[in-house]
């Protein structure tokens, strides 16, 4: 409890004690009317003075019909009618409800804040041989900072000294720690687990990953969903409607009774009207919906899914079409040696060795993947006469042997017969001393979770999964059939991707959304064109964070299904709250008008419903 809440709490206790004392006294002795009124006014003043003051201020500013005004009129009305005890008790109960609600909201606010507590408080820097703690904001680019085990990485940078493992779970939701050695880039928000490291910062704190994420999540509450806007619009009509109904309730029935020659019972109908007004407060709706969304966004961010606004979380639940980019999204975007086809009498190792040695001096991605795959040590001095043959491949003398590595054209040029042609991926043929030795297939590797991700999405009601890629048809078709995509469009330029997405956008139904998933660098136009853009954030690639509506921090396509699950669940909680709050209010309003509901029930309908709705909303924070 904060100070404000504590004050109210003490006032409640004091007022309860006083009320009980006066009641007992009244019961035992039987107080005369005037003295009784004065005594009951003491607990009433203790518990209600601020409400009365606010109500008075509201009247002066012509802002009647707020809660304070209603409570003031209702309780003063009860006291005027001689129901002293009821008047005090209603005010007391109202304050207890308000306090409880304030605590519940504060608590869920704190829960969500704790989930996102990745803000580092300090950075250690070396000043005159001593370690000093400074504000991360004051650290300049290129400063060496020291991060001890157990501390958060405060600023993005590169490890200059030391080895360690990093816990990236706050950023990516991935629980397996990552190895980091000298020269590894580290991202702020990770927790250093095992060893002390020195990091040379490459960004200012304000531009570091952790600041960007915090900024993004805090701002996400500003982008309001359709449900939230609906409630705001609803409240605009609802409030005047109930006010006029209450006025009618207070005036019309007594007048009718007068006309019919019956006693008008003004007091009774005025009380009914006041009860009606207390029930009507729309707070439960107004608070529980943004709270549910905020909880949903908080829950997603703990799993490494950054959602930029409630509106996107809402839209995601209606997504029926998912369009994927291939490279970097479904595949790792890194080339690896995937198949070796040596000729008879040649070992796989030998084949790889010749190819890697001949490509030894090149930094082409294909050469790099060959060198990475080759386990045998390559002695640079044993390789001579390296010659690049543009558009064909490479020629070199390795350990005295004449080696050619390249495409089919190179083999044809050298009049070497290929015993077996291959078409998948990128193919390197190798010939040693004029004889065909074998071929090596290098291709992009499908992410291990891709296939399961697509299957999961189907279970979440996705109608169609579509892959768009700039790659050759053959490669694209192979990948698509392995993962289980419904449609593939290959050999597309970036502009063609936009066209394809627009075509699907035109064909789909009004309420069905299309999400595009890409790696964000060259997909920016498509990401913004789709109903929802989902980017592979690649541990904080700026282009991705800018362009997309949802960012997957660990580039794992399986997170899309999880995001949808969170979205559907959040929306379900929102709907439960809307229906529950409206239904209880409607029933209580009718009961109030009929005179069956008293002020106690009215306060439950106001504060009780709100507390229940808030508690329900906090469920959005967690997902199994």
């Amino acid at each position: 409890m904060n100070q404000k809440q504590k004050n109210v709490f003490y006032r409640i206790i004091l007022s309860v004690v006083l009320l009980v004392a006066v009641s007992v006294l009244d019961h035992v002795v039987g107080l005369p009317a005037l003295l009784g009124l004065l005594l009951y006014l003491i607990p009433y003043g203790v518990i209600g003075y601020d409400i009365l003051r606010k109500a008075w201020k509201g009247i002066l500013k012509r802002q009647v019909f707020d809660e304070n005004f209603l409570m003031a009129v209702a309780t003063v009305g009860a006291i005027c009618l001689g129901d002293y005890r009821e008047g005090v008790a209603v005010m007391l109960f109202y304050q207890i409800g308000e306090l409880f609600q304030s605590i519940a909201v504060g608590k869920s606010r704190k829960n969500i804040a704790a989930l996102m507590d990745i803000r580092p408080d300090y950075a250690n820097i070396m000043v005159d041989g001593k370690i000093e703690k400074v504000d991360p904001d004051d650290v300049e680019i290129g400063t060496e900072i020291i991060i001890n085990p157990g501390e958060k990485v405060p600023i993005d940078g590169v490890i200059a000294e030391g080895n360690t493992t990093l816990d990236t779970s706050a950023l990516t939701g991935e629980s397996v720690p990552r190895e980091a050695v000298c020269g590894t880039e580290v991202i702020s928000g990770c927790i250093n687990l095992t060893g002390a490291i020195k990091v040379r910062t490459t960004k200012e704190f304000g531009d570091s990953t952790v600041s960007k994420i915090l900024d993004l999540v805090e701002n996400s509450a500003m982008k309001k969903s359709r449900s939230e806007n609906f409630i705001t619009r609803f409240a605009r009509y609802y409030t005047p409607a109930v006010c006029y109904s209450a006025l009618a309730l207070a005036v019309v029935p007594p007048l009718v009774r007068l006309l019919l020659g019956m006693p008008p019972l003004w007091g009774e109908w005025v009380i009914r009207a006041l009860t009606f007004l207390v029930i009507s407060c729309p707070c439960a709706l107004v608070i529980s919906i943004p709270l549910s969304f905020f909880g949903g966004i908080g829950c997603a961010s703990t799993h490494g899914i950054l959602v930029k606004g409630s509106n996107y979380l809402e839209a995601l639940s209606n997504t029926k079409y998912l369009v994927f980019d291939k490279t970097g999204t479904l595949t790792k975007g890194v080339f690896e040696v995937t198949h070796l086809y040596p000729e008879d009498g040649v070992t796989e190792e030998k084949l790889l060795y010749y190819a890697a040695a001949a490509e030894h001096a090149s930094s082409h991605p294909i050469s790099l993947s060959l060198k990475k795959a080759c386990k045998d040590p390559i002695d640079g001095t044993a390789i001579r006469d390296i010659e690049e043959i543009a558009g064909h491949g490479v020629r070199a003398t390795v350990d005295g042997h004449q080696v050619y590595v390249g495409n089919q054209r190179l083999m044809e040029r050298q009049q070497i017969t290929i015993s077996q042609e291959h078409t998948e991926g990128t193919v390197c043929y190798v010939a040693v001393d004029g004889a065909y030795t074998g071929c090596i297939v290098i291709s992009d590797v499908i992410k291990p979770t891709a296939q399961k991700a697509i299957a999961d999405l189907k279970n979440h009601g996705i109608k169609k999964t579509i892959m768009l890629t700039g790659d050759a048809k053959q490669t694209a078709d192979t990948v698509a059939s392995q993962i289980g995509m419904d449609e593939v469009y290959s050999e597309l330029l970036p502009a063609d991707k936009v066209q394809q997405v627009e075509r699907i956008l035109d064909a789909k139904g009004e309420k069905e959304n299309l999400a595009f998933v890409g790696d964000g660098i060259n997909d920016a136009p498509v990401l913004s064109r789709a109903d929802i853009g989902i980017a592979m954030g690649g541990m904080g690639s700026d282009a991705a964070i800018e362009a997309a509506d949802i960012v997957l921090m660990d580039d794992d396509p399986a997170k899309i299904a999880l995001a949808m699950k969170i979205s559907v669940r959040t929306l379900r909680i929102v709907r439960q709250n809307i229906v529950f709050a409206l239904a209880v209010k409607a029933i209580c309003l009718v009961l109030g008008a009929l005179g069956i509901a008293n002020m106690w029930l009215a306060i439950f309908a106001d504060v009780g419903v709100m507390v229940l709705a808030v508690l329900n909303a906090t469920r959005a924070l967690r997902i199994r």
Binding site: K54, K61, S102, C283, P290
Partner: protein
């Protein structure tokens, strides 16, 4: 130009009223208030005196809901 302010307010409906009041202040192009984060984001029209506009906006908020604070 956009600026973000911290605010203090107790109930959600009051927050909605404050948002409306800030939106209707002269010189304010748009405003969004998040009750969850207790932050108010204001987009100002071109070339207005931000401080003066915010003073007025604060006053307007006080009119609709006395129990609120904007940390200017």
């Amino acid at each position: 130009m956009k600026k973000t302010y911290d605010i203090e307010v107790d109930c959600a409906n009051c927050a909605a009223k404050m948002e409306e009041a800030v939106k209707n202040t002269q010189g304010v192009k748009d405003a969004t208030l998040s009750f969850m984060t207790l932050k108010l984001k204001v987009e100002f029209e071109e070339g207005v005196d931000v401080d003066a506009v915010m003073q007025q906006a604060y006053k307007n908020c006080k009119t609709v809901e006395d129990d609120c604070t904007i940390y200017l």
